[in-house]
């Protein structure tokens, strides 16, 4: 190949660039783009095992949305995923922004900042599976450190089987996941705050603006495109989540499907076929995947539109 590309300026050689793009493109198309599109197509088929050859139109969707047994689980998982996502938006991203504001304060020493930043980011390098198992141990009713800590503080009335109750399980799982990922929004917000020009702060200081005003009038508006990026990342991450629930409560989203989210529902219906479905129904699974795809696609579009309008207005 070397001798065929003598000059970058020679127009006849231009297509030689294709050889550089092709390997990446081929793998990406064969193992990502095509499977994605094909899964959308397969949602219109039914069949047994790995072969889906029976065209059924939108019947899988009808079953998903309306057939009582299937639809009940689907809408439950759908609702749970929104709760899961909203808890991340409120807890993980607000804490991330808050930590970034604290860390970007000029009164904080560089070394202290680096230490805190590193510590807060450590959990994101762990496998979600490991985090989930670890917290499952900590929340364990017999030995768990959480209940032990509550007992020590004299709050033993609060200790309870956190993962065993329908009304606490989903919240606890979401909080554990937020604990793990808070470092990502923190890091992104921190970078965003560092990009804000110094003279804006100086001008504000001359005008006698309080830090609170500086936050609302300068930092927050200028961060709004970043808030958009973080929101989109949180959205795509959570509508696709699976591991943390699988590790902490299991693929059926117990207790009583309280922690079942779209990721676990997709796994159960389309891939693994665990109780109560038995054998996987890949056509129905493809329909679940297509719904997730549509939610992600529309969600990202809407968020992009929303946040780009706001950032233009702010300037």
């Amino acid at each position: 190949m070397r001798s065929t590309h003598k000059s970058m300026k020679n127009p006849r050689q231009t297509w030689g660039w294709l050889w550089y793009i092709l390997p990446a493109l081929v793998v990406y198309v064969l193992f990502m783009a095509l499977p994605l599109l094909n899964s959308l197509r397969l949602s219109l088929y039914s069949g047994s095992g790995f072969t889906l050859n029976n065209f059924v139109g939108f019947d899988n969707y009808r079953r998903l949305f309306m057939e009582p047994a299937t639809a009940q689980r689907f809408w439950n998982a759908f609702g749970n995923t929104w709760i899961f996502f909203l808890i991340h938006m409120v807890v993980q991203n607000t804490l991330g922004l808050f930590f970034a504001l604290l860390l970007s304060s000029r009164r904080m020493g560089t070394r202290v900042r680096d230490i805190f930043r590193t510590i807060i980011f450590i959990p994101t390098t762990l496998a979600i599976l490991v985090t989930g198992f670890l917290w499952k141990l900590l929340l364990n009713p017999q030995w768990g450190l959480i209940n032990m800590a509550l007992d020590t503080l004299g709050l033993d009335s609060l200790s309870q089987p956190w993962l065993g109750q329908s009304h606490t399980a989903l919240v606890v799982v979401s909080l554990v996941s937020s604990w793990q990922w808070v470092g990502i929004p923190m890091m992104i917000f921190l970078a965003g705050l560092q990009n804000i020009p110094e003279d804006l702060y100086e001008a504000a200081a001359i005008d006698g603006a309080s830090e609170w005003t500086v936050f609302w009038r300068i930092k927050l508006p200028l961060l709004s495109p970043i808030i958009g990026v973080v929101s989109i990342l949180t959205f795509t991450g959570n509508f696709n989540a699976f591991d943390v629930v699988y590790a902490m409560t299991g693929a059926n989203g117990p207790p009583n499907y309280a922690t079942d989210i779209l990721g676990t529902y997709f796994y159960r219906i389309g891939i693994a076929g665990q109780h109560p479905v038995g054998i996987p129904d890949m056509g129905l699974g493809a329909a679940v995947a297509s719904v997730i795809f549509l939610i992600l696609f529309l969600g990202v579009m809407i968020m992009r539109g929303f946040f780009s309008d706001k950032s233009e207005a702010a300037q």
Binding site: Y20, A24, F98, M108, T125, M187, S210, A247, A289, F293
Partner: protein, 280 residues
């Protein structure tokens, strides 16, 4: 105190330190519990989960290496992730080199096409991926994960590396051309060495992602001897119900290498992560 409108948390760094300190405790205590209890004999974990062991034991670790398939799972993960990362780096760098230099509509479309992959998770295509893997006889083989992982790492790889290749000074490339260097030679001898920091970023990012991936091993692999580390870990709870020394040693061993790597390369990692997010 002369500015009462200032919110409490900004009045003094001491309050900031306290808030960040409390969160740091929330991060470090669970990790401490994981590591320290992995050195305790089974029953003494219940007595004091937070303290140092009265009697140190390496039993949990010994059992991992002698009484289980974990060394094999570890090697499987190492092989799959290592090979995937090499492919991701070479292919993504080549594509980035072309996208940055061949400025036509086609490359702009290709760049956007890769960018879309950052938004849409590959998991959604799992139903068809299972069929493809079966057709290509890649199912139930650890190496069968490699093509999927390479595809999975490509969007971020192309995106980050394109930014960096664009940053290579034009004059340098022209000078090399005038000296008669071929495109391939420029790629190997100028582009690759100069984008090394970006390559490190892409490599670490994918290492964490792929090493920690559970989904694809879970749906692709059945056989015991083909399992990856994460897939092996999923069986821990069923197999060793209450042998927490053993569970915690395994979790520790699976996590500590990545944490150490992160601590060593934190700057690199953070730079890459934020560069991508801010520009995107």
């Amino acid at each position: 105190m002369n500015k009462p409108q200032k919110p409490l948390f900004m009045r003094t760094p001491l309050v900031s330190y306290a808030v960040l300190g409390i969160w740091s405790i929330l991060v470090l205590v669970p990790l401490w519990v994981m590591v320290i209890n992995s050195f305790k004999p089974r029953l003494s974990i219940y007595a004091s989960p937070l303290g140092f062991p009265e009697e140190w034991t390496l039993e949990g670790y010994r059992l991992i290496f002698t009484g289980s398939s974990f060394p094999l799972y570890f090697l499987n993960s190492l092989l799959v992730v290592g090979v995937s990362i090499v492919f991701i780096l070479v292919c993504a760098a080549a594509a980035a080199y072309a996208i940055a230099n061949w400025q036509v509509t086609l490359t702009r479309v290709v760049a956007l096409f890769f960018l879309a992959g950052l938004m849409i998770p590959i998991r959604i295509g799992s139903v068809n991926l299972l069929q493809i893997a079966k057709a290509l006889n890649l199912l139930d083989k650890a190496v069968g994960l490699i093509p999927v992982y390479v595809a999975m790492g490509m969007p971020l790889g192309v995106f980050v590396l394109t930014e960096f290749v664009r940053g290579v000074p034009r004059d340098l490339l022209h000078a090399a051309q005038i000296d008669g260097a071929s495109r391939a030679r420029i790629f190997w001898q100028i582009i690759l060495p100069l984008t090394r920091p970006a390559m490190a970023t892409v490599a670490i990012f994918n290492l964490v992602n792929l090493w920690n991936d559970l989904w694809f091993p879970l749906i692709f692999i059945r056989s015991e001897n083909q399992r990856t580390l994460m897939l092996g870990i999923t069986r821990l709870f069923g197999q060793y119900q209450t042998d927490w020394t053993r569970i915690l040693s395994t979790l520790t061993l699976a996590s500590v290498p990545i944490i150490l790597l992160y601590l060593l390369m934190a700057k690199q990692f953070i730079r890459g992560l934020t560069a991508g997010a801010i520009k995107g």
